[in-house]
Amino acid sequence: MQINNVTKQFGTHEVLRDINLNIPEHTVFGFVGANGSGKTTLMKCMLGLLPLTAGSISIAGECVTFGETRSNDYVGYLPDVPEFYPFFHARQYLELCAVITNMPKSERMTRIDELLELVGLVDTKSLIGTFSRGMKQRLGIAQALLNRPKLLICDEPTSALDPAGRAQILSILQKAKTETTVFFSTHIVSDAVQICDHVAMLHEGTIIFQDELINLQQQFSGQFIYTFTIPATEAMEQLQNLPFTMRVDANTLLVTLPDDAARLTFMKELTRQKLIVQSMQPQTKLLEQLVLEVLG
């Protein structure tokens, strides 16, 4: 899946400017950006639902064209607000989708059962018209995965859901990774951190960074978050004489320990001062900070 120098204008307003993206196979690719940054527009371009102003997109070797595009055979799409026919049952809707994708009759039943199982709608007997947002979102994933796409495009799959619904969707996406490449957009950074391998960020129509999540997290500044059995302010007073930058944030102590030697020294000092550590973790909120920096 490749996006080359894509530009999209609505009238004179440039929504996407010179976008380049390369999505490797069998990864979960998080596409982060604020509301209105152009995420949905790019996705619609990838599906041939919007014509490009310049550049090209190719999926699995097929060039995406506006209108009807062959590349859609390899794609499953979950829109931000999926709309279904309210008079169908989930199974009937999936059967319609199966007919449309020309799935052989023999395969249909088993595949639909499999997907209803995956998204947890097997026992749902009601009409789609009565579905909650979360159920619609899950049915949306089922239809998107129906024809075993090489690329699954999800537009803000979690943003309108409650925490339980979000967790469900994220775990379904993670499971889907074994079959397909997942490309999903979100403005909730923590969702991206939870399941992504790769992250790209779109801001004002351009990609401002794009990397593997691990790389991004490794670049982190070496901050650790400590909590102690005593209040953090007291602990900081006791550790005054150490040459590390420290600050207190919500009863946790943030210490910058750039290398292993520094970490050892800090631990020794803790033992010497008889400070009992309740918890300790590396500062991993980096992506969120990065995003905030950009947006701020």
Binding site: P86, G129, T130, F131
Partner: protein, 75 residues
Amino acid sequence: MNNDLDLLLEYLPFLIPLIILQVGLAIFSAIHVIRHPYYRFGNQVMWLLIVLFIQFIGPLVYFVFGRGDRHSRAN
């Protein structure tokens, strides 16, 4: 008076199916209005009046333009 009755009898082959169809449609629509209290616009009383008193155009307008589903109300 006898004359009127004869007249009525003469037109029964028209009146019976007409009344069955019109009243049937009106009642069916009224039941639908009551059992699905979701409308794209207007309220229950309004739709009941329309469906019951405007012959066949009333039910038509209700089913095509007035009937809403639960979903569209939630949004």
